[in-house]
């Protein structure tokens, strides 16, 4: 029944149902293009997913990123090496300590510098606490997006405990700039260890709740099982790492494979799951939180043994000079340090002045340091050409790689599974867009 002037016109009487449906199918304007755009509650930040939908199933998905591109890497080329840690920490803002450690490991590799043992223990402690906080956000928002609101509330309750400890030590809840090339900026406060004990006990008391809520919950399993599957070959094709790769049953963890910061001396095990789907990634994140808690306890004992040891490298030319204490008007240089540099030693004043204004000079060359962030392999490639400022810094964010796998996970699935897929990848757009 086609009439040239108007285009294909369908007359409903007499024609059989199948013919109508078949003719309808090949008309082509079947699919609708929808924007799961930058301002959307469940895209974990400003990620735009261009979905082509046929009814409720997704026929094609194209992630659009760049809505949070901040030009951090270019800005760092105009700052000294130790100032770089303040920029890097704002990239993946859910796990800031990992950016700082990756950057500092790369700079220390360029300087062939060895960090004192207590600084390594503090770095591991902060990284593992930050891993728990990051997994709590991933599990919390992931659960909230499929209706489990309590996951978000209890998730953020635990996270506040960890942020309180961070604030007590380095002064800020987020964006700490705590780890600097050469060590860490400040030692634990006097009540640091009792506070840490409090956080550990609180986490022991409450970390099991997440599993109790969701592991055997039929709705949770129904929404997560068999959704967003990425088997081992696909993981290799997309260069996946972290929980996404371990959910495919492959125990690849940089903390075990290529240890850094003394990880080889801690005992913890690598969690894998074999169902390579969103449920597997969720279970891995839960189990990894308790593994991190085990490491935090070992750090607690080591911190007890090494109290009083330096937390910054000895060499005054590279060490960050400030000895910070909480003064009357907030954090600042301790009076002994000021008396020492102003009164007692001229060299200390020169080193302080030169390191703070000009920064230390890093010999020319390039280095790549990769660490195991909660989302996967976070690498930092630093190029220096002999000056006091990095020539080029490139942070390889796991979320950037994992978002490439989003189309492979979501095409053919329902639109509600797209939400679960993106939540299971746990991209943080600050790190993806840099």
């Amino acid at each position: 029944m086609t009439d040239e002037s108007v285009g294909t016109v369908y007359v409903a009487q007499g024609g059989d149902w199948d013919e109508i449906v078949r003719a309808q199918a090949d008309r082509g304007d079947e699919t609708i293009v929808i924007n799961m755009g930058p301002q959307h509650p469940s895209t974990h930040g400003v990620l735009r997913l261009i979905l082509e939908m046929d009814g409720e199933t997704v026929t094609s998905l194209r992630p659009g990123i760049g809505f949070l591109h901040t030009g951090i890497e270019k800005n760092m080329e105009y700052r000294t090496f130790s100032q770089g840690s303040t920029f890097v920490t704002r990239m993946d803002y859910v796990a800031p300590i990992f950016n700082e450690v990756a950057y500092c490991l790369a700079v220390e590799k360029l300087l062939d510098m060895k960090v004192p043992e207590r600084a390594d223990v503090l770095r591991v402690l902060f990284m593992e606490l930050n891993r728990i906080a990051s997994h709590l956000v991933a599990v919390g928002t992931g659960g909230m997006e499929i209706g489990a609101l309590t996951m978000m509330t209890i998730g953020f309750r635990e996270r506040e405990m960890i942020l309180d400890f961070f604030e007590a030590v380095c002064g800020t809840r987020m964006n700490h700039a705590y780890v600097r090339p050469g060590g860490v900026s400040i030692d634990l406060p006097d009540d640091g260890l009792p506070r840490l004990k409090g956080v550990i006990d609180w986490l022991h008391k409450h970390l099991w709740e997440y599993g109790a809520f969701c592991n055997e919950n039929p709705i949770f399993k129904g929404r997560m099982k068999g959704v967003a599957t990425l088997d081992l070959t696909q993981c290799m094709v997309y260069g996946a790492s972290g929980p996404v790769l371990r959910a495919a049953g492959f125990p690849w963890d940089l903390r075990k494979a290529q240890p850094y910061c003394g990880y080889e001396t801690y005992d913890f095990d690598v969690i894998t799951w074999d169902t390579n789907d969103a449920y597997g990634r969720f279970r891995i994140r839960l189990a990894e939180m308790s593994e991190s808690l085990k490491i935090v306890e070992q750090c607690y004992d080591r911190l007890e043994e090494t109290t009083g040891q330096p937390v910054m490298v000895e060499d005054p030319k590279y060490a960050w000079p400030a000895q910070l204490t909480v003064g009357a008007d907030g954090q600042g240089n301790s009076n002994e340090h000021i008396k020492h540099i102003m009164g007692e030693s001229m060299e200390a004043l020169i080193h302080h002045f030169k390191t703070v204004t000009e920064g230390f000079r890093v010999p020319a060359g390039q280095a790549y340091a990769a660490i195991e962030s909660p989302k996967g392999e976070l690498g930092c490639h630093v190029v220096s050409d002999g000056g006091t400022r990095p020539y080029r810094v490139h942070m390889r964010d796991p979320g950037f790689n994992h978002l490439q796998a989003a189309p492979a996970m979501c095409e053919g699935a329902m639109i509600s599974d797209v939400v679960v897929a993106v939540a299971s990848l746990d991209p943080v757009l600050g790190g993806v867009d840099r």
């Binding site: 149902w17 449906v21 079947e30 930058p38 009814g55």
Partner: protein, 119 residues
Amino acid sequence: MNAYVPILGLMALAALFLGVSIFASVHIGPDRYNKAKYDTYECGIEPTPQPTGGGRFPVKYYITAMLFIVFDIEIVFLYPWAVAFNQLGVFAFFEMLMFVATVIIAYIYVVRRGGLTWE
């Protein structure tokens, strides 16, 4: 009579709420015209221009919507019975069964003719 007073009260309350809210939003809210305000909301992206009147959309949506309305109304009829079926006794039960049977026949017809398959 007194059984109906709460229902009437409820309806009056609903009407009152409806009137006040519409009147308030029309008169109290500062309406400032803005072309973007009347565009469709696409998560912050300028909406792709649609043909006027919404353009042609596949007939499957229309069919699914119609079928939904038919079976939804059927459930509405079941509610009064479901609320008081023990007072109504066995006769009402069989009556309801016949009503459900007629709708089941329509349902089987639709399933056989492929109304519910999406492709």
